[in-house]
């Protein structure tokens, strides 16, 4: 039973255009969400996060949107660059437990073409 799902295994976009990566969750207790980026043979690196009290968070070219009623979040990358080509994971957690346990989606491989 996958509580966090990334239904698109891969995405290909042209350099300079917008990349939109999607993530759905089923557990209504999740109240903190994160996006990680992973290059081959490296550990995931933190990109951006959002608390459930917000519906949007921006950091440079990266924006995360949260739709709590739909249990859906998305990561927008504008403009996309070839160096953004990587696997992107969304993750969710429950703050109440204060354990830091993260539940990850399966990942989406983004390819940005020059």
């Amino acid at each position: 039973d996958q509580q966090v799902k990334q239904n698109s295994p891969s995405l290909s976009v042209q350099e300079g255009r917008i990349s939109i990566l999607n993530c759905d969750y089923t557990n209504s207790m999740f109240d903190y969400f994160l996006w990680y980026k992973k290059y081959p043979a490296e550990g995931p690196t933190f990109l951006i996060s959002i608390s459930s009290i917000k519906d949007k968070n921006e950091d440079g070219r990266f924006t995360v949107f949260l739709n709590k009623s739909a249990k859906h979040l998305s990561l927008h990358i504008v403009p996309s660059q070839p160096g953004d080509s990587a696997v992107y994971f969304c993750a969710a957690s429950e703050r109440a437990g204060n354990t830091g346990k993260l539940i990850f989606g399966q990942g989406t491989t983004l390819q940005v073409k020059p």
Partner: protein, 114 residues
């Protein structure tokens, strides 16, 4: 990289043998985690620690044990390795004001069980 190292980086072992993976951090963070990454599953939490000698189970803890006798070291042991434990293992630490914020990951250990 939050000063996280993992050893070994690569290991090949045979079914039924014990294996210990080591995670070392240099910044005295309280929370440490072990995840495994498999195709189609993203990252899944195996065990985590919230202090010296304080550990708890994650999503996929069967067949694994952990120990934390010092703040800086978190060990993951496969008591009797099986082929289903072939995976890439990542250690993470939590560096934020709350444990789910900004988890930093190590470079990973690639384990092959023959």
């Amino acid at each position: 990289d939050a000063g996280i190292t993992q050893s070994p980086r690569h290991k090949v072992t045979e079914t039924g043998t014990p294996v210990t993976l080591r995670c070392h951090q240099t910044e005295n963070h309280r929370y440490m985690y072990w995840y495994r990454q498999d195709p189609g599953h993203g990252l899944r939490l195996i065990h985590y620690s919230y202090g010296v000698k304080d550990t708890d189970k994650g999503e996929v803890s069967d067949g694994y044990s952990v120990s934390r006798s010092k703040t800086e070291d978190f060990l993951l042991t496969l008591e009797s390795a099986t082929s289903s434990q072939t995976s890439v293992y990542f250690c993470a630490i939590s560096a934020g004001t709350t444990p789910q914020e900004t988890q930093y990951f190590g470079p990973g250990t690639r384990l092959l069980v023959l």
